[in-house]
């Protein structure tokens, strides 16, 4: 394992009722976060390969933790998203190195398939900084019922030399979607969009 992990946090948010109306079955979103050492903190480094490889490791690890926490088969996953918060000693590009080049492939294995882009967010922050992880359907980005976000935050991280990496996987859309758009049963699943 290349990533030096201080802690791993897994959260599940299960919504049984929204707006006074019961949600059957409850919607569930799982968030897995790793607090890791930033190997490039405190210096400018042109090459970010180490973080790119760490992103690959964490895509699989965190994606699997989410699926496991939901207690579902990978194919039952609906939507996903990813995000990173870089501590003060690092730069925004460090989040990009983790999230964009290699994290997606193993995450898609963890949720089986995933033609759609993995929505992402990144920011610099400090201990307790919250990042809203954007969510979209894994097979078709235009599915409107699954546009959502889940707040990710670690009370004691990131320290200046750390990065918080977050992955969210759901087994459902919003609790009571009713604003139209492309529906799950209309997914073609070829181009990642529709």
């Amino acid at each position: 394992m290349k990533a030096k992990i201080r802690k791993i946090i897994v959260q599940v948010d299960e919504i049984h009722q929204d707006g006074g109306k019961a949600v059957h079955p409850p919607t569930r979103r799982a968030l897995a976060m790793a607090v890791i050492d930033n190997p490039y903190a405190g210096r400018f480094c042109e090459n970010l390969d180490e973080l790119i490889d760490i992103g690959e490791e964490l895509g699989g690890l965190l994606g699997e933790r989410c699926v496991q926490a939901l207690g579902i088969a990978p194919a039952q996953a609906h939507s996903y998203g990813k995000a990173a918060v870089v501590g003060e000693g690092g730069e925004l590009e460090h989040a990009a190195a983790i999230l964009h080049p290699k994290l997606g492939a193993p995450l898609r294995v963890a949720v089986s398939q995933g033609a759609a882009l993995v929505p992402s967010a990144k920011k610099q922050g400090t201990l307790g900084t919250a990042v809203d992880v954007p969510l979209g359907h894994k097979d078709a980005a235009f599915v409107r019922s699954h546009f959502d976000a889940m707040e990710a935050r670690v009370a004691d991280a990131p320290r200046a030399n750390e990065i918080v990496v977050a992955v969210v996987v759901t087994d459902s859309g919003r609790p009571h979607p009713r604003v139209g758009g492309l529906q799950v049963h209309e997914i073609v699943g070829k181009d990642g969009l529709r």
Binding site: I5, R6, K7, I8, I9, V10, Q11, V12, D13, E14, I15, H16, Q17, D18, P26, A69, A130, M150, E151, A155
Partner: protein, 217 residues
């Protein structure tokens, strides 16, 4: 379940702590929290008698304790510390959070095998120092509560399950549910841990030196 209990949301949080910039733990410390967002049936006005809800919370507490232990992926025998808390939405009063004291404590002690009387746990008084949790949840479950807005954070205190004075296990977990509690909601929280702080080294009573089995030492 009683119609006083309307569960709107369940939020679980499990963390695996490998180190805090010191030596990496051979077995990572696990800390878990479960927060149930409930409708507060007493929000919006003063109700003199709130006790019916306390009774109604008992089965929910037991279910939450079990769900949390399952989410942590450990058997109850591995739980060494616990705590509880409540966050009351703006339409309620602090006293509504206090309704969780008995059912929240009872829930975890039930899960950990508390037998309800100290005499059952005197086996530690002999020559052999017991290990694990022979007392099974003798100590008071430390707690805190507040009235707060959606997303309010509560630092839930944690102490050793058998002896409140065990210094290595004094800890706290920050628990918050984004978006809750709304004004008419109440969040009830349980937390459990599998061991001491990851780099505990400030002395005091050690878990292996518990000798009085009175919930304190």
């Amino acid at each position: 379940m009683s119609d006083l209990i309307e569960q709107r949301r369940v939020f679980t949080h499990v963390e695996e702590i490998h180190h805090e910039f010191g030596p990496t733990a051979t077995v990572p410390l696990l800390r878990g929290a479960i927060a149930a967002v409930l409708r507060n049936p007493y929000a919006g006005g003063y109700h003199a008698d709130v006790l019916p809800m306390m009774e109604a919370l008992n089965p929910l507490g037991v279910a939450l304790a079990k769900t949390l232990c399952d989410a942590m992926g450990v058997p109850p025998e591995r739980i060494q510390s616990y705590g509880k808390g409540a966050i009351v939405g703006a339409g309620g009063e602090l006293e509504h959070g206090a309704l969780w004291h008995v059912p929240g404590g009872y829930a975890m002690r039930e899960l950990l095998g508390w037998k309800g009387e100290r005499a059952s746990y005197t086996q530690g008084g002999g020559g052999d120092k017991p290990s694990g949790q022979p007392g099974n949840a003798l100590a008071i479950v430390s707690s805190t509560k507040k009235v707060g807005p959606p997303g309010a954070a509560l630092d839930v205190p944690m102490t050793h399950i058998n002896a409140s004075y065990v210094r290595s296990h004094f800890d706290a977990m920050e628990v918050r549910v984004p978006g809750a509690p709304k004004a008419d909601e109440l969040i009830v929280i349980l937390v459990m841990g599998t061991g001491a702080r990851v780099h505990a080294r400030v002395g005091g009573l050690k878990a292996e030196d518990i000798s009085q089995w009175n919930g304190l030492r």
